[in-house]
């Protein structure tokens, strides 16, 4: 009986969800519930709002309206699969699940179904190797870039010498958190610093022993790979032990307002990496206010505009929209398919001039993808939290990663994947 009902509902759903064939369908696998909702909500809002802006202001992309199909995953891989299967029919163009776990599942599935997967700043790092991962794109920056940029920044701070320094890595004890370990180990050999690994189990509500350890070992710097409540607790505990905040650097997923606000003034001076600029001093926000917010079309509660993760969702949407434009130019038609979009992604170039034109000057780094390079230049900024003004401000320009160390690692990991799955290299 229940099954029959489910059948009925799903069948009608499939029927009603068939869009007018001319629209550009972009699924948004978001999470607005569950333990990681505070991160998922602003990201999804930024993603949706940017496409709403394009629809309202420009009438879509190349005359085609963009239709967002949102589906709730709660950061759960099983729900992620359900969402993927529910949305992939009906001309879904690209997936951006904002979860490393779901990304790992979708890599083989999207390749089999011929749909591009865009994972900026998360997911599988070695997917930067386009020779093996035909359908995955993770430019402009990935985890290993981030680890390298953090060390580069510290090198700059220390006049190029980290010998004898001690750097602690506080990480989420999961696939995501373990990503930078290999890179940092390599870099510690190269630059002669000691790496102390401090794992924190999900969800990370209790980190007393970790921070007592840091208090004892007195590392010169602490680098953090956290997500969700773990970030806020870590920053609070660091403040508790009076760890100097200026020596505490989080990855870009540990650098949103949610992470620093609960610690109040204690978080002042905390730094994090950033893939893109911060704040609302960009012309695009005037348009978003005019066409989206004041028009009452804002996604969610509309209270996240301008936050770090909102900008990140917006940036992902921007790259996707540019790839769609590129694909339209290549294929010569407005209603592109997923395969066209893959070509668009692969030949995408975003210059500083183009970013300024889009209302986001000096927001992201310019990059150009090729058949072999799906990872982009991988540079990142450092931002710092001002607890009094309650805002982030950028303290550096874009810092490039150390490709001498990263490229061999990426090659090694992608080669292992290619071997396990019998994939022949492309782009000869």
């Amino acid at each position: 009986m229940k099954k029959a009902l489910a059948a009925l509902a799903a069948a009608t759903m499939l029927m009603t969800s068939m869009p007018a064939s001319a629209d550009l369908i972009v699924p948004n696998l978001s999470y607005r519930t569950g333990p990681y909702a505070p991160g998922g909500i602003p990201y999804a809002d930024g993603f949706n709002d940017y496409f709403t802006l394009l629809n309202q202001r420009d009438g879509g992309i190349g005359g085609e309206k963009v239709v967002i199909r949102e589906c709730e995953t709660a950061y759960n891989t099983e729900k992620g699969v359900e969402c993927y299967e529910a949305t992939k029919g009906g001309g879904a163009l690209v997936y951006n699940p904002l979860s490393t776990g779901i990304t790992y599942q979708l890599i083989p599935k999207t390749a089999a179904d011929g749909i591009p997967l865009y994972t900026p700043g998360y997911g599988r790092t070695s997917a930067a190797n386009g020779k093996v991962f035909e359908w995955v794109f993770n430019y402009p920056s990935n985890y290993w870039d981030a680890a390298s940029v953090a060390i580069r920044y510290l090198l700059n701070e220390n006049k190029g010498d980290l010998k004898g320094k001690k750097i602690a890595l506080v990480y989420h004890n999961s696939a995501y958190g373990k990503e930078p370990i290999r890179t940092l180990t390599e870099l510690s050999k190269k630059h002669g610093f000691t790496l102390v690994q401090v794992p924190v189990d999900h969800p990370g509500q209790e980190q007393k022993s970790q921070w007592l350890q840091i208090r004892r070992e007195k590392p010169d710097y602490v680098v953090m790979w956290g997500w969700g409540v773990m970030n806020a607790v870590a920053i609070q505990e660091a403040a508790n032990i009076n760890y100097p905040m200026k020596n505490f650097i989080g990855v870009w997923w540990s650098g949103s307002e949610n992470d620093v606000l609960p610690a109040g003034m204690g978080a002042d001076g905390y730094k994090s990496l950033a893939m893109h600029g911060t704040g609302m001093d960009y012309p695009v926000y005037q348009d978003i206010k005019k066409y989206v917010i004041d028009a009452g079309k804002a996604s969610g509660a509309g209270d996240q505009v301008g936050s770090v993760l909102y900008s990140r969702g917006m940036y992902a949407a921007l790259v996707i929209s540019e790839a769609i434009r590129k694909a339209q130019a290549i294929s010569g038609k407005a209603a592109i398919t997923a395969a066209d979009l893959r070509n668009g992604f692969e030949q995408l170039e975003i210059t500083e001039a183009r970013m300024a034109e889009l209302g986001l000057p000096k927001f992201g780094q310019p990059f150009k993808a090729t058949c072999a390079d799906h990872g982009g230049p991988g540079a990142a900024l450092i931002q710092q939290w001002d607890a009094k003004a309650k805002k982030w401000s950028l303290v550096t320009d874009f810092i490039a990663p150390d490709d001498d160390v990263l490229t061999p690692l990426i090659m090694e990991d992608s080669a292992a994947y290619a071997k396990e799955n019998n994939i022949a290299e492309r782009c000869k």
Partner: protein, 358 residues
């Protein structure tokens, strides 16, 4: 009228002790099996396989496994997630170490390995009883997850610790990996579930099952009448873990394709499977199916109605969905406290008397 014993004469002991003594039941059972094997595979598509049937079948295997331990033998376990992880990682190591062996053997071996681990963690059950026993299985849960996360050998030294199932064929058709056709996934899980459910049904009504139930109902009394608690409890742990290990192997290789231990096999999974058997009915194979259906299919159904039909915002729908599931659990309890299985049993009793209830 149709549903009664009267007029259905048994002429041999074998016929008398069959699983479904009532003719109507037998026919219904044959029809369900015929539809499951003969009709569904031809109609199924990717959405139905990946989002509805395959998870349902796999959770049903896990639920039967836990029901053997908790429902039939009375030993509370909150280590299901951890034991599923053992199955998944054993399957992964076997698949990558011996790619030429047929996949179904890997799955079976994964089950046996899990059975061994289960017996090990079942040892404290000889001393600790009741709800306190949960601590032993909880220790297993957290320790196993930690182990698979920490020791790189288990995930073949990959950078992030994710394990990904390579493609494996059965009779020339892929059953794991992204290229698997929907019907192959479904049928593979269905065959395993069918075999295991048949085995469980027959184990539980035989002498082994009666020993388990004696231990459950009162272990001291059972010991006095000659049931050895050591073998009874540990055999329940072994059989239950075997089922759960197979569920874990399928969950990883056929259903998800890539897993990360903390996320896929965390404590929430242990609770979820426990909820399934309590809601479905403890000590009942049918209850395991009903509970799995309730907790796997209902959320998908609600989501499709709320988001797909009414067009609600996804977050609002997700919250309301939780409220409805919770509300329904409470409602069913108040109507019938002994699980969905009891509702089914009451319905059958009513049918037996229909249309002359007096």
């Amino acid at each position: 009228m149709l549903y009664r014993e009267a007029g259905d004469f048994k002429t041999s002991y074998v016929a008398d002790s069959q699983t479904f003594p009532i003719k109507f039941d037998r026919i219904r059972y044959y029809i369900v099996v015929a539809i499951a094997f003969g009709v569904v595979p031809f109609l199924i598509n990717d959405y139905w396989a990946n989002a509805v049937f395959v998870p349902f079948l796999i959770y049903a295997i896990a639920a039967i496994g836990l029901n053997i331990l908790t429902g039939y033998c009375g030993q509370v376990s909150l280590g299901t997630g951890g034991f599923m992880a053992v199955g998944a990682y054993a399957c992964y190591k076997l698949m990558t170490a011996m790619p030429d062996v047929p996949f179904v053997i890997h799955v079976a071996l994964a089950g046996f390995i899990t059975a061994g681990v289960g017996v090990l963690f079942g040892l404290p059950s000889l001393r600790i009883k009741g709800f306190y026993l949960a601590v032993a299985t909880l220790a297993a849960q957290f320790f196993l997850v930690w182990l698979f996360n920490k020791v790189p050998w288990f995930y073949n030294y990959s950078a992030s610790g994710q394990i990904t199932a390579p493609e494996r064929m059965m009779f020339g058709i892929a059953v794991t990996g992204a290229g698997t056709p929907a019907w192959a996934k479904y049928l593979f899980c269905l065959i395993i579930l069918f075999a295991l459910a048949w085995l469980a049904r027959n184990l539980t009504r035989g002498s082994v099952g009666r020993r388990w139930m004696a231990i459950r109902d009162m272990d001291i009394a059972a010991e006095i009448i000659g049931v050895n608690p050591l073998t009874a409890k540990l055999s329940a742990f072994a059989v239950s873990s075997f089922y759960i290990g197979i569920a874990g192997a399928l969950f990883f290789s056929v259903y998800l394709g890539a897993v990360e231990v903390g996320e896929a096999f965390g404590i929430q999974k242990s609770f979820l499977v426990l909820f399934m058997i309590i809601i479905g009915g403890l000590g009942s194979i049918f209850g395991s199916f009903a509970g799995a259906a309730f907790l796997v299919l209902l959320p998908v159904l609600l989501k499709n109605i709320l988001v797909g039909q009414f067009g609600w915002a996804t977050d609002l729908a997700a919250h309301i969905e939780l409220m409805i599931v919770g509300g329904l659990i409470i409602f069913f309890l108040i109507v019938e406290p002994h699980g969905l299985n009891q509702l089914w049993r009451v319905a059958k009793e009513k049918l037996r008397l229909w249309p002359f209830p007096h």
